[in-house]
Amino acid sequence: MIQMTNNQMIDFLVKMYQNSTEAIFFLDEEGNILSLNPAAEQIIDPSLLQKIKGGNINSLCSFCRGYTSDEHLMTCVHCYLKDPESDFTSFQVYLETNGKGIVPYAASYHMIDEENGVYVFMLRDLTLQYKKQELVYRNKMLQKTIDAQEKERRRISRELHDSVVQELISTLVDIRVMRYMDEKDILKKIDDTEGTLNRLIEDIRDLSVFLRPASLDDLGLEAAFRSHFKWVKQTYGIEVSFTSTIKQRRYLPNMETTVYRICQEAVLNAVKYAKVAEITVILTESEDRLELYVRDKGEGFDVDHPTVKGSGIGLFGMKERAELINGKLKVHSEHHKGTTVFLSVPIPNQLEEE
């Protein structure tokens, strides 16, 4: 590295200030703008920039819309300009920009001249990075959705192949054998075959209900839930205590489907991971919203950092489904205390008028 003279250094710094893609503001102790570089000028709305250059407006607040603190996404509480003691070497700030609306920036704010009270405020545009992150996230989730779909198809295909086709073949063989049997034996064989066919019917019925419960279309949420919970109790040995206080019998079809699927997923999650003998499900109406609680007193997990045990699509899928019908989904969980899934969906007015 060559030894740099002071003049060279100043030259470099001026060039950096002029040509940097990073927006640089020099501010005084009150947060008034002393100077800003060309990159910073580009961010700000031209008419506002005029006023700043003319000295009519000095404050950063004219286009700052808050920063991301520990508690809030966008806030002016404990403003970075007024709290020089705190660490603001790297934080996220939202600015009203020229033509692009409110945009998040990665910012740093620190004192560079203690004597004269001069601060530097530097910004880097995060939009591109955000978009990329979002795209990566979306692609990942789409991939997971496709995988889950494929997995489900494989399960159905295997079920059809292993149980339905197998049993049919065995029935066919039984019937063929009957040709060569005594009449007395045939009657017994018919009994057996009847048993096989009954079992087969039950298998297919199960599969069909699992795919789409007819009771949901014909009788509504309450009935569909009751039969599903009976099935859960028998198959997994776990009691689901179900309370419903809904007044309305039927809701819009897509709303019923969504609530049913979310409940099914939440209950299955509890069955798989909570390690409990009982799950509580409450379906209720409050004002103009349909609410669903699925509660267990089991293992619980860290909601912010769940260790993915299954496909990792469950919780995400539940939230996505809820959002599609303007619903809200909240998951509360504590280790060794249990998990509560709460779903709240607005009830549209149309059905009441009908």
Binding site: D185, K188, G195, N198, D203, T235, Y236, G237
Partner: protein
């Protein structure tokens, strides 16, 4: 079949083989495709009573369907922990190893005998061999092997 005292027989197996749990699942007489745990010895709780299995589902369902013994000497490594919920009896009774045998009547599986341990390797091939040697052909009115007569 009704005259045979299954409960006592189950208790005896429990003592003879020094395992933690012995249970017998039977096909429901009214619905030939459902299995329930009817007789049990050494259980920790009553949760088994809720279980009703279909062909192919759960430990009993798998044996019922295949007609073959199902032997797992190390549940935590041989059964995917994420699929454990398909085997409620193993979870409720904290089973770590087991032998499950089909029992036949009229060439059909009508019951499944579960002999299980709460310790890894507590039950396995050796136990299965011993049982097959000692029990002989029958367990009460039920056969241990599907007899090939027709």
């Amino acid at each position: 079949m009704e005259s045979f005292d299954f409960q006592t027989a189950i208790h005896q197996l429990h003592e003879i083989y020094e395992v933690d749990l012995v249970a017998l699942a039977m096909v429901l007489p009214e619905e030939q495709f459902l299995l329930k745990w009817k007789y049990i010895s050494g259980n920790l709780n009553q949760q088994y009573k809720r279980i009703q299995l279909r062909t192919g589902k759960g430990v009993a369902g798998a044996v019922f369907k295949s007609g073959k013994p199902y032997i797992v000497s190390n549940v935590p490594t041989q059964i995917d922990p994420n699929k454990m919920y398909h085997y409620p009896i193993l979870q409720f009774e904290q089973i770590k190893s087991f032998v499950a045998l089909p029992l036949f009547k009229n060439h059909r599986v009508t019951a499944v005998l579960l002999v299980a341990s709460r310790e890894i390797e507590g039950a396995g091939i050796a136990l299965y061999q011993r049982m097959m040697d000692e029990l002989g052909e029958c367990f009460g009115p039920l056969y241990l092997q599907e007899l090939m007569t027709n």
